[in-house]
Amino acid sequence: MKGYRKYFGKKILWFVITLVVAVILNFTLPRLMPADPVAAITGKMAQGMTDASAVQEIYKRYEEEFGTNKPMLEQFFIFVKNMLKGDLGTSFSQYPRKVSDIISSAIWWTVALQLPAIIVGWLLGNLLGALAAYIRKGFDKVLLPLSLFLSNVPAFGMAVVMLVLFAVKFKIAPIGGGYAFDMIPNFSWNFVKSVITHYQLPFWSIVMVSIGGQAIGMRSMSIYELNADYVKYARFLGIKDRKIVGYVFRNAMLPQVTGLALSIGTMIGGALVAEIIFSYPGLGSTMYTAVTAADYPLISATTLIITFMVLIVTLLLDIVYGFIDPRVKAAQFD
């Protein structure tokens, strides 16, 4: 148990440290740049205005709103204090909506889309990879190049191809959005049905993209494990091949959990961009609208929330891994 406590303690400590660093970066990076964001925003807002004092007024107002007229350190503490209260500022493009408000409605779409999609992609990919490693001849020859090719299709590319094929060409799926555009979110059966039909394409496009990479990783892990000494030994003890294959796939799959933890950031990045293609009402699309509208508070909040999500998922995966792989416990005794 001591080993576990040490392991989890270490993981949680890392989580806190990275979170702090992420918050600091999120705060400082935009402020490090030579350009004055308030001036830029004022410029946008005051387009066409000729009255210098009115422009000055707008500038002052935004300076107040951001607190950029205060010293850097004080700004940071205000930022952290507000963040802890759940206040992430006010959106520019959707004024006077609160950023936290916009994000809390988008985040569930993203979580509900990406989490299942990544898990299903991971499972299917591992299954295919294991099959490829086990069957090898022929099957492997077709599946491997195909997986390699698939894993190299960018997430947004897969999204566009699937959209064009299934929504535009065959018209068996809606063209985008999270639900039919003429509906208002509620808990009626019709709405749920609409959500489910709109869910299919984004979901499967993310699944398709993650399958390839996972399958390749699983295949080489499995081949590595199939050649391990314990496989030979188990065979010479008369244990059935089917049982040994069970050992191998379990052992090959466990490191894949860590692999998922390491790649989750990249995967979510790709999937967020795929959201834009489907105009899915999640964080990806929010970020896109924020970027196009130069809505600085919203961009900052989305990146922060995405970082937070990635950190949480990574931490959870690490904890799960610690429980399911005894090798971790042993490593902590060293």
Binding site: L148, V164, L262, V273, V291
Partner: protein, 415 residues
């Protein structure tokens, strides 16, 4: 060394990737020789012209004609002019009239024959609106005209009288040789939303994207390599410090930093090379990690110890006793970084945070433009599909090369 090279070039995976990549590079080099000019030049006024050969109508009229009597010319003309929606509408009319259609509506001959035999402008099928009936009348007239007129009269304004004067006629049987028309433009991939030649733009964009990938890969590899070497070889506090930074930046998603930095830089400052640099700056962590673990396994080898005892400098030990042993590894890491750099640029551009749009096209920008102008929903596949395919092929070829190298240098993975 020679043997390793031979093994590499005998690896089918490496060779497949290598050939694809070289073909792409050769295209980048040779295509502009045949089709020179600014890739961002807007040659078309409308948007999304279909791929094909464009013949100047003006020049065609002034080209000497030959008369060709082709028996299927009328049919072809009709088949081409009769649009799919017209055919469906005709089918609807037959259905409304209760006339059985026992052939496929793509069969122009049968369809027109049935139409001629049955259509009467006076009939009023049940439940059909006035507007719809008028549509059928117009359709019928167009069909009649198409069949009747044998020639088109060409007219010009007389300079003195300001009246139209007939200057010539074009017969249905008049043909010109495409080779003799002064202006014929081949647009194999049509034009994009701005009326640019997509193929020309694509070639130029691929070049830029590969350069972005190379710069990003080089930056990431150099930083990762330096950190990895120092952390792995020095150990101790240097290792702890570097690994602390590396671990933090491994968990914080690179693309989040990428978005923050790109946004902070601002559109005007974001040239292609700046974007490449930023991508490189945010993606070095796993190179650092893996180089470090390789160096640690090398650190206590005899030849390194011998070099240390001989009093060689840190720089020399790293250059002669460590780098050559991890060189293959670094090359593989670099290849992967290039491929992910190209992808990062594309994703950034799709978010609207790519390089500024006025200078050079990149694959990501082309994708962004195509999406902004809804190429995917209006059927203009040529504006986005070649871009996706190119990104996929580049990344596929680089990854294949990497896998091939991996199999040569890591025998445990061998089949």
């Amino acid at each position: 060394m020679k043997n390793t090279l031979r093994q590499i070039f005998h690896s089918p995976k490496f060779m497949t990737g290598f050939v694809i990549f070289v073909v792409i590079l050769l295209t980048l080099f040779f295509y502009p020789l045949f089709n020179p000019g600014n890739p961002l030049e807007m040659i078309g006024v409308g948007t999304f012209a279909k791929p094909g050969t464009y013949v100047s109508l003006y020049d065609a009229l002034n080209t000497s004609r030959e008369t060709l009597r082709l028996s299927d010319a009328d049919d072809n003309r009709l088949a081409k002019q009769l649009k799919a929606e017209d055919r469906v509408a005709m089918l609807e009319w037959f259905n409304a009239m209760g006339i059985a259609v026992d052939f496929d509506i793509s069969d122009t001959d049968a369809l027109l024959k049935l139409w001629d035999d049955n259509y009467d402008p006076a009939t009023k099928p049940k439940g059909m609106t006035m507007a719809k009936r008028n549509y059928y009348k117009r359709l019928n007239n167009a069909l009649l005209q198409l069949k009747a007129a044998d020639e088109i009269v060409l007219a010009d304004v007389n300079a003195e009288t300001k009246a139209l004067e007939e200057t010539g006629k074009v017969n249905k049987t008049d043909y010109v040789n495409v080779g003799q028309v002064a202006n014929v433009k081949l647009l194999p991939l049509g034009t994009d939303n701005f009326g640019r030649d997509v193929l020309k733009e694509l070639v130029s964009a691929t070049g830029t994207s590969i350069i972005i990938g190379l710069i990003a890969g080089a930056v990431a590899t150099i930083i990762g390599l330096t950190f990895g070497l120092l952390a792995g070889y020095l150990g101790g506090i240097a290792d702890d410090l570097i690994m602390f930074i590396t671990n933090v930046f491994t968990v914080i998603p690179g693309f989040v930093l990428l978005i923050l930095i790109s946004y902070s830089i601002g559109q005007d400052q974001r040239g292609a090379s700046v974007v490449a640099l930023v991508i490189g700056l945010t993606s070095w962590t796993w190179t650092a990690r893996s180089v470090r673990s390789q160096v640690i396994s090398l650190r206590n080898r005899d030849h390194v110890n011998l070099s240390k005892l001989s009093g060689h400098s840190l720089f020399r030990i790293i250059m002669t006793d460590i780098l050559p042993y991890i060189a293959s590894y670094v090359v593989m890491a670099f290849i992967l970084q290039v491929s992910s750099g190209i992808l990062s640029e594309a994703q950034l551009s799709l978010l609207g945070l790519g390089p500024k749009t006025t200078e050079v096209p990149t694959l990501g920008l082309m994708m962004n433009w195509a999406m902004l102008y809804s190429a995917h929903t209006n059927g203009s596949w040529w504006a986005y599909f070649p871009v996706i395919l190119t990104i996929t092929l580049i990344s596929f070829s680089l990854n294949l090369m990497n896998t091939g190298l991996d199999q040569v240098f890591n025998p445990t993975l061998r089949d």
